[in-house]
Amino acid sequence: MSVAKKEYKRVTTKSLVEMKSNGEKISMLTACDYTMAKIVDGAGVDVILVGDSASNVMAGHETTLPITLNEMIYHASSVVRACERSLVVVDLPFGTYQGNSKNALESAIKIMKESGGHSVKLEG
């Protein structure tokens, strides 16, 4: 079933750049809990995004704005515990990075330190 051009035991940010230069497309899906992440990771999806869409799909909010930094950390740490291969990217939620770059850095560090996520994503 695998159409990968090269096997990766653990996908890193470097692997993604390598995939691009090899012309191999990158697969990415969202997950915000352990059970879902375990299946997505086991299926060989390259990147798992702990998306702020958890605000919609998990919490039932109309937009992604209400989700908090601590709620994102809770979702991300659940996903990190499930992942053996996928690169975990965690969304910085609304209001935790737009103020200034120090604010953004502090939020990113808090996410990485407390959830174990491998990287963060921010809009704009």
Partner: protein, 130 residues
């Protein structure tokens, strides 16, 4: 990782979830923003709901991978919201979404059958107890 095009955290500024950067001016700005994000050290970029032609151009102009959602096949990868591609959500139907399952229907059926089995005393049966 950066994120350009439709950025849902700015929904109250945009007003709608429609396709972004259809006009040349916004498209040019998106391309220069993407180059800036690469220069600033982003390891990848998400492009959400922009014309496929523009997304392809951005991907070709960057060394870092561009992951698209509603950005066509000319980019370096794809992302979907898992709950949407599994069909667990059924009121959200953008054109870019491919549903691999209809879990909303399947789960509803399972829950209805379970509930009916409990009420009819079919569940648990002799083999499902100690």
């Amino acid at each position: 990782m950066g994120h350009l095009g439709l950025t849902p955290q700015s929904i109250y500024k945009f007003g709608t979830y429609t396709v972004r950067a259809k006009e040349e001016e916004e498209a040019d700005k998106l391309l220069s923003d993407a180059k800036l994000l690469e220069k600033l050290g982003c390891f990848a970029l998400v492009l959400e709901k922009v014309p496929a032609k523009l997304a392809k151009k951005v991907a070709e102009n960057l060394t870092i991978p561009v992951i698209g959602i509603g950005a066509g096949g000319g980019v370096d990868g794809q992302v979907l919201v898992t709950h949407d591609m599994l069909g667990m959500t059924h009121e959200f139907n953008p054109r870019f979404l491919r549903r691999y399952l209809d879990l909303y229907a399947e789960m509803t059926d399972a829950f209805q059958r379970y509930s009916a089995d409990v009420k009819s005393k079919d569940f648990p049966n002799e083999n499902e107890q100690y």
